[in-house]
């Protein structure tokens, strides 16, 4: 018997004992349907009893032993709940990124106004500088919501821009932490 088989048997024995322990509980929502429990947002939602009410109550089970036989209905419900969670997270991320886009457009328009001599440099600087912190914050919040939703590829794609914001705004963070928020405006 190879080392791998030995450890697999040990794992199976431990899993069987935990399954019998779980079967003693009346309503246990631990997902043991496909072997070991996986660390995911869905598992966390089930563990924390997060429930979005538009899908009604979660289907009742006598024990987790039922799930090992047929996980269909409960798994479908859990998938629906997790997908709604993703929907909420991505919507918030979309709003945050949309605000970042708005700030970029606004700054370009302000620069255009400045170069067309519609505003003086003081007003243009004040218009631009009062939005920089909000833009960086919105972008960071969008990345955080994306991470909460589980889309880590998007977070990695946004990492260079986050780093650019971080290194480019040492003065902004200093004045943010030392002075008040309004002191950024010249």
């Amino acid at each position: 018997m190879s080392e791998f088989d030995r450890y697999r048997r040990l794992g199976a024995r431990a899993e069987a004992s935990s399954a019998t322990e779980d079967a003693k509980r009346v309503d246990s929502r631990d997902a043991r349907a496909h072997g070991r429990p996986r660390a995911s947002m869905g598992a966390f939602c089930r563990w924390a009893r997060f429930d979005f009410s538009i899908f009604g109550d979660a289907p009742e089970r006598a024990s987790t032993a039922d799930m090992t036989v047929d996980a269909g209905e409960a798994a479908a419900h859990a998938r629906a709940v997790v997908t709604v969670f993703h929907f909420i997270a991505y919507s918030l991320a979309g709003f945050a990124f949309g605000f970042a886009v708005f700030v970029n457009v606004y700054v370009m328009i302000a620069l255009d106004d400045l170069q067309s001599d519609f505003v003086n440099p003081h007003d243009a600087t004040r218009r631009i500088n009062r939005l920089i912190a909000w833009e960086i914050g919105a972008h960071a919040c969008g990345c955080a919501f994306m991470l909460v939703g589980g889309h880590w590829v998007m977070v990695l794609a946004n990492a260079p821009l986050v780093y650019y914001h971080y290194i480019g705004c040492a003065r902004l963070w200093n004045s943010f932490f030392i002075h008040s928020f309004r002191s950024l405006s010249p």
Binding site: I54, F55, S91, A93, G94, N129, G168
Partner: protein, 70 residues
């Protein structure tokens, strides 16, 4: 980035170029986010529970007086 009042005329063109690139990237990000939102909504409504919830919502919507106004 933060603009300086005395340097804003010198920095304007470079800042505009930077903003254009950021805007293109963020537009791409927005498109992907919109796709993910749609994907999540569709897959939430394609499950059994989602179909029942959508049926309930549409049934209640069909019973409201505003549905028969138009």
């Amino acid at each position: 980035m933060l603009m300086d009042v005395t340097e804003i005329f010198n920095r304007a063109d470079a800042e505009r170029q930077t903003r254009s690139r950021k805007l293109a990237f963020l537009g791409f990000v927005e498109v992907i986010t919109a796709y993910k939102i749609t994907y999540a909504a569709v897959h939430a409504l394609m499950t059994t529970a989602g179909r029942e919830a959508l049926a309930k919502v549409l049934r209640e919507a069909a019973h409201t007086p505003t549905y028969h106004m138009f």
